[in-house]
């Protein structure tokens, strides 16, 4: 049975000017232990999707709707606040982008590590402390025992992200959402953190949703990838399929503006223009104004999700086989 089933998730924000649909009809499923990538540029709805899954967007002003939002048999849309709190941290955990700000500056690391343990695992003070030391050691923090009494400002960014990972994994969640978890770190630390999360979640059998705009990272880590644009999933499939045989103009654009070490000197191709205003419901493909591979049909009908071989699907009318890497 699927760990998480999302069907037609829509998150809208009521503003004075109208309703903004930050997430617009997103559907996907996640199997236990699966690693899913969620890519797209800023404002494409990646983070809001994640926050909606955990019901962490503030309602109101936001409104989260879905045909189905099921986590391990619990309907997250209709579950009472108390059940949601039990799931947060213990069932689904999240790591945030900025480790400098996601730890409370006035509480010790030990306090912040033991709090969820005592809350979700009903551990006593001594047991929680013991487990906290184990967790810190697990994420590679030296002198874990003394470090429990330290405050966040005494840690570097990379160390803080390690602590965040320890906290997130402390109650054995079945799903970990990493929202741009390495974006704020420098490259060498990034690689360490990515490897740490990969190793730990693999050992623990935790499913992961990696939210990132770093395609290289997603390509190396994930089993499947969802490409998001304007609040929608425009392409989905196994990582290799999507990156080697992209089937949506936007995915091609994203790949074109990703620097590659093995192609030094090749100019990057930016995607021109800006993401569309999410207020107006576009009658055509929302990517059309910026699309380089549009065909005449794109100006007449709105594309529907089209299934491709290999568990791959895209919302695009154009046939993009000529753009595939093998074709060049």
């Amino acid at each position: 049975m699927a760990l998480l089933t999302v069907r037609n998730l829509t998150t809208s924000f009521a503003t004075d000017q109208g309703t903004i649909r930050a997430v617009n009809g997103v559907s996907f499923t996640l199997e236990p232990g699966e690693v899913l990538g969620l890519v797209g540029e800023s404002g494409s709805g990646k983070s809001v999707t994640a926050l909606s899954l955990m019901r962490l967007v503030r309602e109101p002003p936001a409104k989260v709707e879905a045909e189905l939002l099921d986590f391990e048999g619990t309907d997250l849309l209709r579950a009472p606040a108390r059940t949601l709190r039990d799931i947060r941290g213990a069932g689904i955990a999240m790591i945030f982008q900025d480790p400098m700000r996601s730890l409370n500056p006035v509480l010790t690391i030990g306090r912040q590590l033991t709090e969820p343990l005592r809350r979700h695992m009903r551990m006593g003070a001594a047991a929680a402390r013991h487990r906290a030391i184990e967790l810190l050691e697990m994420v590679g923090i030296p002198m874990a025992e003394t470090r429990l009494g330290s405050y966040p400002h005494q840690f570097s960014g990379g160390m803080r992200q390690r602590v965040m990972i320890a906290i997130a994994l402390s109650c054995n969640p079945r799903l970990l959402i990493a929202d741009e978890a390495t974006t704020a770190l420098d490259v060498t630390i990034q690689a360490q953190i990515v490897e740490l999360v990969r190793r730990l979640t693999k050992n623990l059998g935790t499913a992961v949703i990696w939210i990132s705009h770093d395609l290289g990272l997603v390509a190396g880590l994930c089993d499947r990838v969802n490409v998001m644009y304007a609040g929608r999933i425009v392409e989905t499939g196994p990582v290799r399929e999507v990156f080697y045989r992209p089937a949506h103009g936007y995915t091609i654009g994203l790949i074109g503006c990703t620097p590659r070490v093995d192609q030094v000197g090749t100019p990057l191709t930016p995607i021109n223009g800006l993401p569309p205003n999410l207020m107006d419901e576009a009658p055509l493909c929302p990517f059309l104004p910026r699309c380089d591979v549009a065909i005449p049909a794109c100006r007449q009908t709105r594309p529907a999700l089209r299934n491709l071989p290999g568990g791959h699907a895209a919302v695009c009318l154009a046939d993009l086989t000529s753009h595939h890497r093998g074709a060049h």
């Binding site: 962490l56 039990d86 700000r101 996601s102 006035v106 009494g149 405050y151 005494q154 965040m164």
Partner: protein, 311 residues
């Protein structure tokens, strides 16, 4: 590195025990507080003033309302260290007894305004929406009254005893405190660590008390010390207007009010209460300043930092 560790090594064992118990916060904050000389001096002065107030019956050379007309308006001498007033009462004794009134007014006003201002501000900032609007408009309504006039009206209506004076001064401070608390809460609740705490399943009450309240303690503390000194001054003003402490009982403000008539002939009469009020208010403000720094863990020098440096 050895140097850093060595300078700290005296307290090392104790420190370690502290760290392991997670309870080093208060101690580290206090240690940081002591690093600020002005705050330390302020704290010492304040403690001495409080002790003097408590010990007034035993240490004052005369009774505060003991009249001796034959010795009226005497300048400072060995018999009367700070001189005597127009009834021949000993100024020093009156100051000591007056400290009881003035300081307890300060404490009570702060406790009173905090017990309303902090919850109101936090609820408004945390809940937002209609609750916020109603509470804050109510606070705005309070703010439209000139503070002293409002206090005068309240004391005028209820009568000038200590409890009413305290409430009259405290009511004026509630909206100021509530607005500061609300503003701090608003910014704290948007912090990523609040979102992270929510993502870990913390309940709203827990978030408010553990994550937000602890983070806005500094602005609250600063406001509290300002409120404390404002209360002493406000009590002085009310007494000056005849609505605070009633004659013949002493308070710093009361004595100052009476002294104004003899300013030219007996300057010591108004200099002593003025200097005492100034001393108290300055000390409290220094203490507040020190507290603001001391409550921020980022200012604490801990053994763990020395450890970081060693790595």
């Amino acid at each position: 590195m050895a140097v850093i560790l060595a300078t700290d090594s005296g307290s090392l064992a104790r420190d370690k025990a502290q760290t392991l118990r997670f309870a080093s916060g208060a101690r580290l904050a206090f240690r940081q507080f002591l690093r600020n000389p002005a705050a330390t001096v302020g704290l010492v002065v304040l403690v001495l003033l409080c002790l003097a107030a408590i010990a007034a019956p035993w240490i004052s050379p005369f009774g505060p309302i003991q009249i001796k007309l034959s010795a009226k308006l005497q300048p400072p001498s060995w018999a009367h260290l700070l001189g005597t007033d127009h009834f021949g009462r000993d100024v020093l004794s009156r100051l000591l007894y007056g400290a009881r009134v003035s300081l307890s007014i300060g404490v009570l006003v702060v406790a009173f305004s905090m017990s309303f201002g902090v919850p109101i501000g936090m609820v408004a900032g945390f809940m937002r929406g209609h609750v916020d609007n109603v509470l804050m408009r109510l606070m705005d309504a309070f703010l439209t009254f000139p503070p002293l006039l409002l206090a005068v009206a309240i004391v005028g209506l209820l009568g000038p005893d200590l409890r009413n004076v305290m409430m009259a001064i405290g009511v004026v401070q509630i909206p100021v405190l509530a607005r500061i608390v609300r503003a701090s809460t608003l910014s704290a609740r948007e912090e990523t660590y609040v979102m992270a705490a929510r993502a870990l399943g913390a309940s709203p009450l827990r978030i408010a008390l553990r994550h937000i309240l602890r983070n806005i303690l500094s602005p609250i503390m600063v406001q509290v010390t300002i409120g404390f000194s404002a209360a002493i001054i406000a009590e002085a003003s009310l007494s000056f207007l005849g609505l605070g402490t009633q004659p013949p009982n002493p308070s710093w403000g009361r004595d100052l009010a009476e002294a104004r008539r003899y300013m030219a002939d007996a300057p010591w009469l108004f200099l002593s209460p003025t200097a005492t009020i100034m001393l108290a208010v300055l000390s409290i403000n220094f203490v507040g300043d020190g507290l603001r720094d001391a409550l921020d863990p980022r200012s604490w020098r801990t053994r763990a930092r020395a450890a970081t440096a060693t790595e």
